[in-house]
């Protein structure tokens, strides 16, 4: 394989951005479709090249290809090169990112049809995808940070895509600033690592951590710093607040953010630096605890949301928590396997929500209902994705979630029980959404849409939207089967534990173990409860809500984190508190002193000016007094 191939994977979408911004938008403004085609073409080729790279990596010894570096900048003992790592983790990630992005771009052609910002949309999408692809391939901290921030920029631009809406502009700003808090920790970790090792190269750092040269408090702080970057990007507690608001962007953007790019970047980052975490128990435990806690914390809020995209958003945070938990207790293969499966079913869930919105013009589930008749394809695919995320055998989500549960059972009982409760919550909120949206009778009547189209009656989305959903649905069923024999785990360097068995034995043998059976039972209870409350109405949702009223308020107000961060800390303490005080200090005290010196000088000179009367008698008098005074001084002291 030529060395240029991996470079092209992220450069092609970047070229697409350039072509759209400099050629299509200025000269072909009335042919918006072209932007879509260019983007799909570029990402499509990237996807093909990614598969090629994956095949090469599978065949390569130690699953690794060497790509030559390029010198970027050299100053004294600071030397930064740019280059790519092409190993198993990279290969899996580029395939996931480019494939999911490709599906979303195809779908977007239908969803964004007629939007005045069509060119801009695909330009930003290209940028976003390019940065994520670069991120997963970068071989050193500086180059990785470039894409890391690029992904942040892409999400800022796309969340705020409809910038004329104040809520979208706010959400974009919030996403960028909250993640920047995490980036601050990441940047500090980069500085710390370079100071102690003299290198930015990720593989060299791995080597130093494995050799034990990089150890102790330095390693702990560095790992915590890297993790704080991951916490920001992957919306883990306590920096989770930006992701639910991020749904202000167009829905395919949410699909991309929640599935393959942006939030996956944080989990990927921990996986990329796993040798550092592995040699630092404190950091690894932190990852597991934050992940496990976030999983249940976010799921609890997902229980009560009425906006379908918000349900999915909290579900993403919760699933990302699972991935972190998986990394913390099981390692790279476990965490990334869930990321891999999640990318497909979560992308599909968002595309389904977008499809529903395309028809009904709303995201509020209280205005939906009965859509299974009008939108059969959307219904079936959404149902498959929901079963998958709930962890129902033999769908994709089952396989990766089961691994996480199994590993946390052996590592940490408390986290295991939290994860098990989360399984119940996940099944409940997903099927609550399914039944509210597709079950019962249509309750809506709102006829309006994001782009001003009039949707007179419910209808299935066009083929350009349905086909990607079907493709993702197939993967939501089958992607988990890759690890039935443990081959996915072995590819990602997970040796040992999995004993070799045939596919069929692994596939059905799973049901002979107690743990998978328990988790299946828990998930089924969740689904059944949702059915009882929202479809069969054996239980009144309102009555249940009244019984658990304090919890209901706590969950639906999102534990008051938005208020705490925005009103109390940012506005109350900082902007209107400390910063206001400093601002007054600046204009009154510091600048006041400057003006004070000036006016002091002016008034002193004003006073002294009065001595200059211009009268000779007065001057003569003064001279005489002075002479006498000098004479007296001489007489007395001389």
């Amino acid at each position: 394989m030529p060395h240029q191939v991996p470079w092209l994977i992220f450069l092609l979408p970047l070229f697409s951005l350039v072509i759209i911004s400099f050629i299509l938008r200025p000269f072909f403004n009335n042919r918006p479709k072209l932007s879509g085609y260019v983007t799909i073409g570029a990402i499509g080729i990237s996807c093909a090249l990614s598969l090629w790279v994956l095949a090469e990596v599978l065949a390569a010894p130690r699953h690794k290809l060497e790509i030559p570096d390029i010198q970027w900048v050299v100053v004294g003992d600071l030397s930064v090169h740019i280059g790519l790592i092409v190993d198993s983790l990279t290969a899996v990630m580029v395939v996931v990112v480019s494939f999911v992005s490709l599906m979303i771009q195809i779908y977007s052609q239908g969803y964004m049809h007629g939007d005045p910002g069509y060119h801009r949309y695909f330009a930003f999408m290209s940028l976003f995808t390019a940065c994520m692809l670069g991120l997963v391939m970068a071989d050193n901290l500086v180059f990785l940070f470039l894409f890391w921030e690029g992904v942040g920029l892409g999400s800022y631009l796309l969340i705020g895509f409809w910038f004329h809406r104040p809520s979208a502009a706010n959400a974009a700003k919030k996403a960028f600033i909250v993640t920047r808090f995490g980036d601050f920790g990441f940047l500090a970790a980069i500085l710390l690592l370079f100071y102690h090792t003299g290198t930015f190269d990720i593989e060299e750092l791995h080597g130093l951590a494995i050799a034990g040269t990089l150890a102790g408090t330095v390693l702990t702080w560095a790992a915590i710093g890297v993790f704080s970057g991951a916490v920001g990007k992957s919306a883990q507690f306590p920096l989770h607040v930006w992701l639910p608001d991020a749904m202000e962007g167009p829905t395919p953007v949410s699909a991309l953010i929640h599935a393959a790019t942006m939030v996956a970047a944080g989990v990927f980052l921990v996986a990329r630096f796993f040798p550092l975490f592995e040699h630092c128990q404190v950091a690894l435990t932190t990852v597991a605890i934050i992940g496990g806690f976030t999983a249940i914390f976010a799921a609890s809020m997902g229980l009560v949301m009425t906006d379908i995209k918000r349900v999915l958003a909290y579900s993403t945070i919760s699933q990302l928590g699972y991935m972190m938990l998986g990394l913390g207790v099981g390692g790279v293969a476990v965490g990334i396997f869930h990321l891999f499966n999640h990318a497909f079913f979560k992308a599909l869930l968002f595309l389904g929500a977008g499809s529903v919105n395309h028809s009904t013009g709303t995201f509020d589930m209280r205005e939906m209902g009965g859509l299974r008749k009008a939108m059969p394809w959307t219904y079936i695919t959404f149902l498959i994705a929901s079963l998958s995320i709930a962890g129902i055998w033999p769908l994709a989500g089952f396989w990766s979630k089961d691994e996480i549960l199994a590993y946390s059972f052996t590592h940490n009982q408390i986290l295991f029980y939290l994860a098990m409760i989360t399984v119940f919550m996940t099944a409940f909120y997903m099927f609550r959404a399914v039944f509210l949206t597709f079950g019962g009778e249509y309750r809506g009547g709102v006829v309006s849409s994001h782009s001003g189209h009039e949707h007179r009656k419910l209808h299935e989305s066009p083929a350009v939207m349905v086909v990607p959903m079907v493709a993702l649905a197939v993967l939501s069923v089958a992607s988990g089967w890759l690890n039935v024999t443990g081959s996915f785990g072995q590819f990602l360097g997970h040796g040992g534990s999995s004993e070799a068995h045939s596919f069929v034995a692994g596939f059905f043998g799973m049901l002979a173990h107690p743990l998978p059976l328990i988790s299946l039972l828990v998930a089924s209870v969740g689904i059944f409860l949702a059915y009882a409350m929202y479809n069969a109405k054996w239980l009144s949702a309102e009555a249940v809500g009244r019984i658990f009223k304090p919890f209901y308020i706590l969950f639906s107000r999102k534990y008051w984190f938005d208020e705490l961060y925005e009103r109390v800390i940012v506005v109350g303490v900082l902007v209107d508190g400390i910063f206001a005080a400093l601002s007054v200090f600046d204009s009154r005290v510091i600048d006041g002193a400057v003006d004070g010196v000036a006016s002091g000088t002016a008034s002193t000179s004003g006073a002294m000016r009065r001595a200059q009367t211009g009268q000779l008698q007065a001057y003569g008098m003064a001279i005489a007094v002075g002479v006498i005074a000098i004479a007296v001084c001489f007489y007395l002291f001389g």
């Binding site: 900048v73 004329h164 920047r180 601002s583």
Partner: protein, 496 residues
């Protein structure tokens, strides 16, 4: 015969343009602008030629290139002595670049255009002179000369409390200059030389005043110019009330005279004293970064907001300088260049927004992205560069500064200082994004329905800025390879 007067030509090309404008009988405004443009472009082109001819080989480390030396005042051993090295060349290019763009930014000047462009050209000459002078008297002469055009530019073509701001600017700077002059005189009477290169690492047995006093005299002058908190309050007033082109040059090139002076004189001549005072100055740098950012977050006037952000960003320059490592000093120099083009662009953009909408108050702005898409895009790029987004010069410069400062041995606890400084990036993101949202996002407003987007001349101007920002951001080695040549000998003097 070999042509050997590149620097003189670059410095005095604007003066020639100025004379042509002054001597033309009743020139049309258009002719004035074209003349100014031609001469600034010529200076820019020539500085690029110098950049291309500059010797980058290892043998050029610490060498002054394009040197010109003519005896000027033999009685005090003063020379007309020019030259550039890796430290000054980027700043010369920065100034000639901004010179061209300042003319383009001023294309719509209606009030007394002839005088306006005369002052603008004189300003360019004086700043170029500061960066090229290698003789202390000549340096001081150019340093003081700059005050005259700036005073008139602010007080005649400015806005708001323009007379107050202009006077404040001049007096504040003059106070610094007085200290500087005392420093220069004490150096002269101690060493008997005015040659800035010969004075490097000055060691004398019996100085007229302690070396530390000389260092501090010079430092006061430069600290006011940079500026460093707490001697920064002239800056927001001057920047806010100056006309756009003057703000561009003030923030873009003029502040860099302070940073340049600190490296060229304070650190190079008195490396040991610099080492001694480094802890204090690094602490002040971090204060400037955070304090500047905090006050920026409270500004309601668009132009004042950008002005205060300069205080914060120049804190990174001070941090890099007094971390006293090769990497940090290179980062600081790159940060000066980068801040020059980024903040220059930001002021140009504020000028455009104000020209079109006649509004600078953030509370009254909003929704302009619909009416002025090009301006919105370029303003956003400038803002993102300012908040240090990788791929822009802002990131390259700040990152190199951080890496250099973090590994410094000069100051105890500098790692903590650096980390606190790094936190500035979060605050910067806060005010930049808040500002962009206030100006451009939200529903389009009725009162701005008629405003236009940038015209072609404005587009040329702002796209040039963007190109420079991206070029340095993507390939910073284009400058760091040169800066290094000037910085390396200085770090050898410090000897850490």
């Amino acid at each position: 015969m070999e042509f050997n007067y590149y620097l003189t030509t670059i410095i005095f090309l604007p003066i020639v343009g100025l004379i042509v404008i002054a001597l033309l009988p009743n020139p049309k405004p258009k002719a004035i602008k074209l003349i100014a443009l031609v001469f600034t472009l010529a200076a820019f082109a020539l500085s690029l030629a110098v950049f291309c001819l500059f010797d980058r080989s290892a043998g050029a480390i610490g060498q002054i290139q394009f040197e010109e030396k003519i005896s000027w005042i033999p009685a005090i051993n003063a020379f007309y002595h020019l030259g550039v090295d890796g430290l000054s060349l980027p700043l010369v290019i920065l100034m000639t670049f901004l010179g061209v763009l300042a003319v383009l930014v001023s294309w719509n000047i209606q009030l007394r255009p002839r005088q306006y462009f005369i002052w603008l050209l004189l300003l360019e000459t004086s700043i170029l002179g500061v960066f090229c002078s290698l003789d202390l008297v000549l340096f001081f002469l150019f340093w003081e000369l700059e005050l005259v055009p700036m005073y008139f530019l602010i007080s005649i073509w400015g806005s708001g409390r323009k007379e107050y701001s202009a006077i404040k600017y001049v007096i504040y700077t003059l106070v610094g200059s007085a200290f500087m002059l005392a420093g220069i005189l004490s150096i002269y009477f101690t060493a008997g030389s005015l040659n800035m290169m010969e004075l490097a690492g000055l060691t004398v047995v019996k100085p007229v005043v302690p070396l530390a006093a000389m260092f501090l005299f010079l430092l006061v002058g430069f600290a006011i110019k940079l500026p460093v908190v707490p001697v920064h309050t002239w800056l927001p007033d001057a920047h806010t009330d100056a006309p756009t082109a003057a703000s561009v040059i003030l923030a873009g090139a003029l502040l860099k005279m302070g940073g340049y002076g600190m490296i060229r004189l304070c650190v190079t001549i008195f490396p040991e004293v610099a080492l001694h005072y480094a802890p204090l100055l690094v602490a002040l740098a971090v204060v400037s970064v955070l304090y500047g950012a905090a006050v920026t977050l409270r500004q309601k006037d668009l132009k004042r907001l950008i002005a205060y952000s300069s205080v914060s960003h120049m804190g990174y320059v001070l941090l890099g300088i007094f971390a006293l490592t090769q990497v940090s000093l290179t980062g600081a120099t790159l940060q000066m260049f980068s801040h020059g083009i980024i903040t220059g662009l930001l002021f140009a953009m504020v000028g455009l927004v104000y020209d079109k909408s006649h509004e600078r108050n953030l509370d009254n702005l909003g929704g302009l992205a619909r009416q002025m898409p090009v301006i919105a895009v370029v303003f956003s790029i400038a803002g993102l560069a300012s908040l240090g987004l990788p791929g822009t010069s802002g990131f390259a410069a700040e990152f190199i500064t951080f890496v250099g400062s973090f590994s410094s041995m000069a100051v105890a606890g500098i790692r903590l200082y650096t980390i606190i400084g790094v936190f500035g990036i979060v605050l910067t993101a806060g005010y930049i994004l808040w500002m962009l949202q206030r100006v451009f996002y939200g529903p389009p407003l009725e009162q701005f329905s008629g405003v236009s987007d940038a015209n072609n001349i404005e587009k040329v101007c702002i796209f040039s800025f963007v190109a420079a920002i991206m070029l340095v951001g993507i390939y910073p080695a284009i400058l760091t390879d040169i800066i290094n040549l000037g910085i390396e000998p200085i770090t050898k003097l410090i000897g850490l």
